[in-house]
Symmetry: C2
Subunit: 166 residues, 2 copies
């Protein structure tokens, strides 16, 4: 099979894309560790719970929403539970199911951290882009996700965090 190499333009774009993929999560992660002792992944686990009804989700649903595997989530949930940010209980109707619920302390952590995190996202991404580029990025990410996540698992019903009313 003859390889379809990237042309100069594509290569240039890809080199930059690799840099963004490396730097952006690293900087967000570093910021969250510093201000809240949470990994980027930890934060999204808490954030997803904070947006869910009753601040709780079953583990498998939470795994899908954080694009994680169940084993990974299970380990993380254990640590967050030890820190008192999350509480797990067995569902009464199906005792195989574990419900993860954000504790009050977990909620407080999200409330305390979210503004700084959003500010960071704004500083690193949206402030750097023109409104046209934001719109372009919408189309690009949509196209990429059609391939990366054809079943749309990551873009599950998402609602704006209820943090506004603070």
């Amino acid at each position: 099979m003859t390889t379809r190499w990237l042309d100069d333009r594509e290569l240039q774009v890809w080199v930059r894309m690799v840099a963004v993929l490396e730097l952006l999560p690293a900087q967000l992660d570093s910021h969250l560790r510093r201000v809240a002792d949470l990994t980027y992944f930890d934060y999204y686990v808490l954030a997803m719970l904070s947006e869910a009804p009753d601040r709780s989700l079953r583990m498998s649903e939470l795994a899908v929403r954080t694009n994680s595997t169940l084993p990974r989530l299970s380990h993380v949930a254990r640590r967050l539970e030890i820190r008192g940010l999350v509480h797990r209980t067995t569902a009464s109707d199906d005792r195989r199911v574990t419900m993860a619920r954000l504790t009050d302390a977990g909620w407080d952590t999200v409330v305390a951290t979210a503004p700084e995190h959003v500010e960071q996202v704004r500083a690193l991404v949206f402030d750097a882009l023109t409104p046209e580029q934001v719109e372009q990025l919408r189309g690009i990410t949509e196209a990429l996700l059609d391939v990366l996540d054809p079943d749309g698992l990551m873009s599950t019903p998402y609602q704006r965090p209820a943090l506004d009313d603070l």
Copy 2:
């Protein structure tokens, strides 16, 4: 300080961006592990060396080009050296400096893996985008890197891999 929350459009874009940041590296990593038993990071270390003069770079320069820390690179280099893909030597002019050089086996690995990796990149990214979107992505990644990497360390003099002549 009142938080400047993300508006609906920004939030929608960001949710997708988070998904892309999570899924794209994960899928590239998974592919490389499968076909070459290399992490995404391992592969880029080898790739950077393959493009360097004499297939070698000093560790600190390699760390910059892979956006890595020296400790991280040092561990990875040790593993790659054990596998016979890289060889490290002390520079004669400055004996603090370690030069990492791609071995013949390392070169062969890159040569064998690069086409599949490029194919993967094409399948996951470029085939999913229109030419206009690729052009837009060029501008967007450029703008983001101005913030993420203001000194342009990641976009160090890059030249097309010499793999074409195979």
